[in-house]
């Protein structure tokens, strides 16, 4: 920079007078840099999620869409390829301490033909006296198999509501992508563990709604029942033969 400019800058800063243009520009550029980093971190969460989804980072499984399923048909029809490999899929269930449910896999492990769609079940029981909403997080290990582990449908996609004492079977339909056999890192894998952890949902509004729905349904049941009974009684008056049935 020229002597003149340096002098001007220095003098201005000493006198607290207006800052020279070049200095201002530098400062604006730096604020821009901060803004850029700020924008980066503000979008970090969706970026992180997308990154995990694409790379299977942290064992994030894939969700099979129509296109994927359509593409899958080809290897499945190839009987030789289909028979070529099996992999053991193991099931693991965890319940967070704050959620009073019992949650376990119905089957410990399944021997799965690679490329074939498989249905597995988990079972959850609400052991509290309240209706509770739970959501499940999930991942597979080893992590490197995650990109090949596709879920077609899963109870973990939505929140689950269990009434007091209610037990529910929770299905998951998945397949292991035959591409796994082409990946040098994963082709020798013999077992994949699919693990779930159920948490009490921070948003319990669905529980209230379910309670309300249930009582409404009971109400409706009762109304229906009363109507039926009235109808039956009415009939019974006409036909004594029916009375025994109703009383029984």
């Amino acid at each position: 920079m020229s002597n003149e400019a340096a002098h001007r800058t220095a003098r201005a800063s000493r006198q607290g007078k207006s800052t020279p243009r070049r200095t201002k520009l530098t400062a604006y550029a730096l604020v821009g840099l901060i803004g850029g980093m700020g924008a980066l971190v503000a979008t970090a969460q969706p970026m992180y999620r997308a990154f995990c989804q694409v790379t299977g980072f942290g064992g994030t499984t894939q969700v099979a869409d129509e296109a994927k399923l359509a593409a899958l048909i080809i290897p499945v029809e190839d009987e030789a390829a289909k028979a070529a490999r099996y992999v053991t899929v193991r099931f693991d269930a965890n319940t967070n301490a704050k959620l009073p449910w019992h949650f376990r896999p119905v089957q410990r492990e399944l021997r799965v033909r690679i490329g074939e769609q498989v249905l597995a079940h988990f079972e959850a029981t609400n052991i509290s006296d309240k209706t509770i909403v739970g959501t499940a997080t999930f991942n597979v290990t080893p992590y490197k198999t995650a990109t090949y582990f596709n879920k077609i449908d899963c109870f973990c996609f939505t929140e689950q509501v269990l009434h007091p004492g209610q037990t529910a079977q929770m299905p998951v339909i998945f397949y292991v992508d035959p591409e796994m056999l082409k990946d040098i890192n994963t082709k020798n894998e013999t077992a994949i563990t699919l693990s779930y952890t159920f948490f009490a949902d921070t948003d319990q509004s669905a529980a209230k709604k379910a309670d309300w729905d249930q009582s409404a349904a009971k109400e409706a049941d009762r109304d229906q029942g009363e109507a039926r009974q009235a109808e039956a009684e009415r009939r019974a008056e006409n036909s004594p033969a029916n009375r025994a049935e109703i009383n029984g």
């Binding site: 064992g59 193991r90 965890n94 319940t95 967070n96 991942n139 992590y143 563990t193 693990s195």
Partner: protein, 297 residues
């Protein structure tokens, strides 16, 4: 080539020294210990041998720098050398001290990668041990050996059996068979913990909401200790790990008995151990942190 051989020799020497000073079969840390606990798995053996290579290289680097500094102190102090030179450049020298470290790093990188990929995955685990971290105890589950589970709490100082190791003994030990590839699945119920047994070369975070996988194959029977290795709250220092490694036959017997012993034990409602003699103080600490559930005993 010569250098390589020399390095190998010193490496062997140091391993021998390490082995000689390591003492009796795997039983936790020893007083005044200056090196690793004895290896009981192939992974830990590899960690130790790779670390021996690193140690040799690093000691040589430090000695080299120290030696140069001693020469500088002796030869280039203001009495010995009143007129300073004005050299500020030497291209050859600058290239050398860039290239040589790169070469050294490559010497390190190759065995490092080998170790990393070796420890990554068991070939074909025969059984699974499921580990769940809690504030502040561990839950172990044996899904392949009868699907039983139990909690493992620290033994209070006053209840310590004779010869028991303070802060390392637990009430219910993990029992595992020797020479068996075991898959470790780890998760947590609350905060992040870390399940670590130095002799096994295993150390992995237990993260709530996800499951981590590691593996061990213990080649020696005996008793092994570890401690939680991720700050997890008030009683972080008081959730030890004890693993008893037994023969396969003994393990089968134990598992059969354990299946009966622990049958029907439902973990929730979960109780945490009081940490040794300080229970009251800890309770005070916990009382200040109502979110941390502790001490219901």
């Amino acid at each position: 080539m010569n250098r390589c051989r020399w390095m190998l020799t010193s490496l062997l020497f140091i391993s021998a020294w390490l082995a000689a000073s390591a003492g009796a079969l795997a039983a936790g840390p020893k007083p005044w210990q200056m090196n690793f606990q004895e290896a009981a798995t192939p992974v830990m053996e590899d960690i130790i041998s790779f670390h021996n290579l690193l140690l040799v290289i690093e000691i040589l680097i430090v000695l080299f720098v120290l030696g140069l500094m001693l020469v500088i102190i002796i030869k280039f102090n203001s009495k010995a050398n009143p007129v300073p030179s004005k050299t500020t450049h030497n291209t050859l020298l600058e290239v050398v001290w860039t290239v040589v470290p790169i070469a050294i790093l490559m010497v390190i990188a190759v065995p490092s990668m080998k170790l990393l990929f070796f420890m990554d995955k068991a070939k074909n685990p025969e059984m699974t041990l499921k580990i769940t971290g809690h504030q502040w105890f561990w839950t172990y589950q044996y899904p392949d050996n009868g699907d039983f589970e139990f909690d493992s709490n620290i033994v209070d100082e006053e209840d310590l059996p004779k010869g028991g190791k303070r802060l390392l003994e637990v009430d219910e030990r993990v029992v595992l068979p020797v020479n068996t590839e075991i898959r470790l699945l780890m998760t947590s119920d609350d905060v992040i913990h870390n399940w670590a047994v130095p002799s096994f070369g295993v150390k992995m975070d237990t993260v709530p909401g996800r499951t981590n996988e590691s593996w061990i194959k213990v080649t020696k029977t005996g008793t092994f200790y570890g401690q939680c290795s991720e700050l997890c709250g008030v009683n972080h220092g008081f959730m030890p790990i004890r693993v008893d490694v037994v023969t396969k036959a003994e393990f089968a017997k134990w598992a059969a008995a354990a299946k009966v012993k622990y049958a029907g034990i439902q973990t929730p409602p979960k109780t945490a151990a009081s940490a040794t003699a300080k229970a009251i103080k800890v309770a005070q600490a916990a009382a200040r942190m109502p979110g941390a559930h502790v001490l219901k005993r």
